[in-house]
Symmetry: C2
Subunit: 385 residues, 2 copies
């Protein structure tokens, strides 16, 4: 049907109508007092969400722009960095760093597995003369549904003492607790079309004091992504370049909704939705791409057996039920499908998705489950929690 799409992909995510209607307002001047008031409120609430007193800067870009800013503002050509690569996005940050002439050492893991924190420890401990300037990795790998161990890797970076930690939190921010100040995270990047519950077009970079010291000596060229400019103007509740004012209207609305729900409740909801989804998928006899122990609260990747063609399944889900699921990326294209459950997602959405999935699977001739088993499993998780 038209206008009936249910977006169960890991971004863009579902958007509350309050935010959509806020966005439909006539724009206002970005150099006006009215805009500054919105920006002041938004900045305060972004700091609340990031659990930080540091700067949280707002860019008009995708999450990639924010990550690029998080890298190029704090490093110089030839700097040595460690980059965790266990999915499409980890690979991308290695590409960004390489494009800017950094010396990149990759710590890799198979797509679907978490990064081995021990490898970070070894590399960082071996670096006696403190040549590693930054450690970059993706917290929640959107391409695989794996949550890397931020706390442990951060501990090793802190023990190293010199390197900055640069975290891609694009699908984890707002889905799982990231206590930026408590962990002492230097740079944390994220994007609006994920846990923030608004459409794409804004991106965020939290920057701590140690990163700002590095900024002073960093030599990579930048202008549009120069975070110093954003910091200077944010202090006056304005932006160096014309901001997407209508997306700010939407963000103001969703941050208020998030404050109403409360951080603990938001994170508990994501955890519950993740567990319900994974439990249901298992009850349907479908293999999950990664293990439960490192499962992202944002997205679940399913690797169906050969008789269930992922792309055909997605087509049925879309055509018959107006539910959009994500496919695999790069070498996982056609081999997995992904269910997004971050942002403006409630228990009903998970139940609908699992129920529809059961029908679609039967439709495809897959009969390795008792009809209703997925739904029953999800329901048990929801009733208990």
């Amino acid at each position: 049907m038209d206008d009936k799409l249910m977006l169960m992909i890991p971004g863009p995510t579902l958007v509350p109508e309050t935010a959509l209607l806020a966005m439909a307002q006539h724009p206002i001047g970005h150099r006006s007092g009215d805009f500054s008031k919105i920006m002041a409120e938004v900045i305060e609430n972004l700091k609340w969400l990031h659990q930080t007193k540091n700067d949280v800067l707002i860019l008009a870009s995708s999450g990639t722009g924010a990550m690029e800013a998080g890298i190029i503002n704090f490093l110089s050509p030839g700097d040595r960095i460690l980059c965790g690569c266990n999915g499409k996005f980890g690979d991308r940050w290695a590409e960004v760093a390489t494009a800017y002439g950094l010396q990149v050492e990759k710590i890799t893991a198979e797509w679907g597995q978490a990064l081995d924190t021990e490898k970070f420890r070894q590399h960082l401990e071996a670096d006696q003369d403190k040549q590693i300037k930054a450690v970059i990795f993706t917290h929640s790998e959107t391409s695989t549904g794996v949550l890397n161990d931020l706390e442990t890797i951060n501990g090793y970076v802190k023990a190293h003492g010199q390197a900055l930690i640069i975290v891609d939190a694009v699908t984890s921010l707002g889905a799982v607790s990231i206590p930026v100040d408590e962990l002492g995270l230097d740079i944390v990047a994220s994007g609006s079309q994920k846990g923030y519950m608004i459409p794409p077009g804004l991106a965020f970079v939290a920057v701590g004091a140690k990163a700002w010291s590095a900024y002073e000596i960093a030599k990579l060229p930048r202008y549009y992504l120069d975070l110093g400019k954003y910091r200077k103007d944010a202090a006056k509740n304005t932006t160096p370049f014309t901001p997407p004012v209508n997306l700010f209207f939407a963000l103001q609305a969703t941050l208020r909704i998030m404050q109403g729900e409360g951080l603990e409740n938001i994170f508990a909801r994501h955890d519950r939705l993740k567990t319900a989804t994974r439990t249901a998928i298992k009850a349907l006899g479908l293999p999950l791409l990664g293990p439960d122990t490192v499962a992202s609260p944002a997205v679940t990747a399913v690797a169906p057996p050969p008789e269930v063609e992922a792309e055909k399944l997605r087509a049925i889900m879309k055509k018959r039920f107006d539910i959009a699921l994500a496919g695999g990326q790069d070498h996982l294209k056609g081999k997995i499908f992904r269910i997004g459950h971050l942002g403006f997602v409630c228990e009903r959405d998970i139940l609908s998705t699992i129920a529809a999935l059961e029908v679609a699977l039967i439709d495809l001739g897959y009969e390795s489950f008792t009809p209703g088993a997925g739904l029953a499993a999800a329901s048990r998780v929801l009733v208990k929690s």
Copy 2:
């Protein structure tokens, strides 16, 4: 009053409700066939608006991001460029180029005056060994309301034969005819919150064949702003990074509106609104910042006498009439005010603005005009044209 704002600034500009409502739709997946269909239509219509068969690439950024992309994709460190500087934005492109280690020669003019095209001729003719790699300037200087002579400067660049022409058309695209292919313009950048009639958040770069050849050897680092990636993906009606899908909905709507009006009519309307505005301002005895011969069809800058404080006047216009006018930037702050008349602006808007301006001027104690004189002058222009 609340919700009554009339945005007569040179961006963000007024947005048709069709576009606002389009933007308020639930987002869709950016890797879907539905999004590709929108993108295909949008690209085709952007080419129509640019009067080109070249690529017109779409970025999630402000106009500055598009201009930076227009510079860094086609040049290498140390390259010599000419940069026209006669306002805030011309100065900005010199700053961008300097940030990336280019060798910048500025051709300056006073703010409010047009760039002297002869200086471009002299510099380009003197460059016998073709070391000048690019000529960059702002077509319509938003900060002063001056339209630089694109055609003449382009002629000298073409006579030089080697240099690329990189045009900031942020407030001119959609307000005045820019026949990209006929003039052979290499790179033309613009932003969504101007003639495109949608909110800020998208930016555009038209790139011609000669520029793509330069891209092959250009060595400045880039990733998020790497136009090669956008070109490759645009060929498949997709984008390398998550696009602001809701702004695409709005753009699809306004490009259809623009097609309905027709290019000639759009440009004639802007010319008429410009002339009506300037004629009215003169009838009120207020000095214009720049001469009529180089007046931008997008924005008119007024330099009132000392007894009319520009900021007080803007405050009255805002408070009493809910009309937002722009102030001066940098050293012109407090010395001028600017009336935007680009995009979704009709004759009624100009009449309202002039009528309100008359009251605000009288309110401020300025009595150098016969009440009604501004409105009468504007009306005469509109009746005649």
